[in-house]
Amino acid sequence: MKEGEKDRTSVLVVDNEIEFASTLAERLQMRGYDATAVYSAEDAFEAVKKSLPDIMLLDHVMPGTSGVEALTTMKTCFPNVFVFLLTGQVDIEKELEGIRLDNFSLILKPVDISALTVMIDRAKLEMTNKRKLQEP
């Protein structure tokens, strides 16, 4: 998956579990993704403002702000970032009820890296296609 810097898919991993976020980011880097890890929702905002990622892996439960809250804010501010909500909670659907979300998907923890990369690539492709359609 070695591609040029510009074509590399940028992934922002947001999780207060530093060990998890950093390790996952490193593994994604090893697979050719431009992956960065941040450890709070606030840091995530700062990071996104600086440089818009293609994909965000957002942890569902983080101290300070609920994952769903962070998700809705993020989706409102940056609708073009595809967000995967990482969750250990299976009944998350209930919490998301009534929230209409584009460019969004759920991933159950723990994640299988190969399954994750497949989903990231598919999401990236989807976003690219959408952008192409929007361009005249």
Partner: protein, 469 residues
């Protein structure tokens, strides 16, 4: 009869008493006559005043007694004899009166002796008649005593008979009733009274029996109701216990998931690094070890997902479900395993089972879990029977019966709890029935297990025909 006997006895006694009175007077008359003769003799010898007075006194007494006994004397000797007696007494008195004046008149003396003899003779006749009648009297007495004895005896007999009648008709039934009432007070509602006759006592007994019938009916339905309440209570407790166990399990699973994710990522990264490194010593060995870690994490993940799934509000995929088809599909999954273990799976599916509205996938999951347990429970050549049918118009039932070793009672009550397993170590997670229980509850149904150790276990799953949240 007794009264008649008594009456005759009484009449006899009346006769006896009147006769005795007569005998006494007759005796008095004889006495008077004898006294008269005595004083007559004295008077003739001494010609004294005292003898004359006494003689007159006895003459008057005799007259009075004879007059007093007139009826009886007339009855026995006839009126002429009575008159003669009475006249003789008068004559005698007159002669005595004359003799007092002429004591030495021998003609008068002879006359008075003659009259006196006649009077004495008549009085002796009277007494003799009475002596004869004393025998009759004794007969009378004997008869009346016999009659009286008979009367008394018959009174005693009649009393005893009446007593028995009373005992039979009143006392005994009332005693029976009293005994029965005591038994009721002691809680025995089974006793009934034997009904005799058609009187008030019998109708009281009948009312008592009716009361007993109603009481025992009432007690029976009360007992049933209590049993039902207990059962419901137990079910509720069980459901509550399982629900809280589910929440705890889900909480634990959720907390474990995060560190588990870290273990998974760290191990994955190690594998990545070793994979791209050239010339890493023991590369193969390390990759194997890491894969062991990842596989264990995978196992943990299965468990935590099951636990989370229990607490999860399933997003139902509701639709028409043919339970018989669901059973057949699950049988399809297990075909090979059943063949290998040579287990017979018999189906006894109701052909007219209506289509229900539920979640087919979830129902299949439940059937699969129970069937897998049944397969583990039976040894080779075991028999499993799966049946479908309707409990009532609103509830469909699937029951799965095996002829395995069964589950002891103390274990049976725990089988729906998480991590409870009767299987040998590592063969089961102890979550299959826990998850199944959660699913069935969420589908608005019931799951229940009955087991006879050594004979087998039957699981019954009830699912409402139309799901209502």
């Amino acid at each position: 009869m007794t009264v008649v006997m008594g009456f005759f006895g009484y009449l006899d006694l009346r006769t006896i008493s009147s006769r005795l009175a007569y005998i006494k007077t007759a005796d008095d008359i004889l006495n008077d006559a004898l006294e008269i003769r005595r004083y007559e003799k004295n008077l003739l010898l001494f010609h004294d005043e005292t003898s004359l007075n006494e003689l007159n006194k006895y003459i008057n007494l005799l007259r009075k007694d004879v007059e007093g006994l007139k009826k009886e004397i007339v009855g026995r000797l006839g009126l002429p004899e009575y008159k003669k007696l009475s006249d003789r007494i008068d004559e005698y008195e007159r002669i005595i009166h004359n003799i007092a004046k002429n004591p030495n008149d021998n003609g008068l003396i002879d006359r008075v002796r003659e009259v006196a003899r006649k009077i004495q003779s008549t009085t002796e006749d009277l007494a003799a008649v009475e002596r004869a009648s004393i025998d009759i009297l004794l007969d009378h007495l004997n008869r009346s005593m016999t009659l009286l004895l008979l009367t008394i005896a018959s009174f005693i007999v009649a009393g005893a008979v009446i007593n028995m009648k009373l005992a039979d008709g009143i006392s005994n039934p009332i005693r029976d009733l009293e005994d029965a009432t005591k038994r009721v007070a002691d809680g025995d509602l089974s006793c009934r009274i034997e009904l005799k006759g058609k009187d008030e006592i019998a109708s009281l007994g009948m009312s008592f029996n009716v009361m007993q019938d109603r009481l025992s009916d009432a007690r029976q339905s009360l007992e049933l109701a209590i049993e039902e309440v207990h059962e419901k209570q137990e079910q509720l407790l069980e459901a509550e216990k399982l629900a809280s166990l589910g929440r705890i399990a889900a909480g634990v699973a959720h907390e474990i998931n995060n560190p588990l994710a870290i273990v998974n990522e760290k191990a994955g990264l190690m594998q990545d690094i070793i994979g791209i490194s050239d010339g890493f010593q023991n590369k193969e060995r390390f990759i194997n070890l890491i894969q062991g870690i990842v596989a264990s994490v995978e196992r943990c993940r299965t468990i935590t997902h099951h636990l989370l799934g229990y607490a999860r509000r399933i997003e139902f995929i509701m639709g028409p479900v043919n339970l018989n088809h669901a059973v057949e599909e699950v049988k399809g999954f297990l075909h090979t395993e059943l063949d290998i273990k040579r287990i017979v799976l018999e189906s006894n599916l109701a052909a007219d089972l209506p289509q229900i509205r539920s979640d087919k996938g979830q129902i299949e999951q439940v059937i699969l879990n129970i069937l897998k347990n049944a397969i583990d429970a039976v040894s080779e050549n075991g028999l499993i029977t799966i049946s479908s049918g309707m409990k009532d118009s609103a509830t469909a039932v699937i029951s799965i019966k095996d002829n395995g070793q069964g589950i002891p009672e103390d274990k049976l009550k725990h089988i729906f709890e998480p991590f409870f397993t009767t299987k040998v170590r590592n063969k089961g997670t102890g979550l299959g029935l826990f998850v199944s229980y959660g699913i069935v509850k969420k589908l608005g149904g019931m799951i229940n297990a009955e087991s006879v150790p050594g004979r087998g276990t039957t699981f019954t799953v009830e699912i409402p025909v139309d799901f209502k949240q």
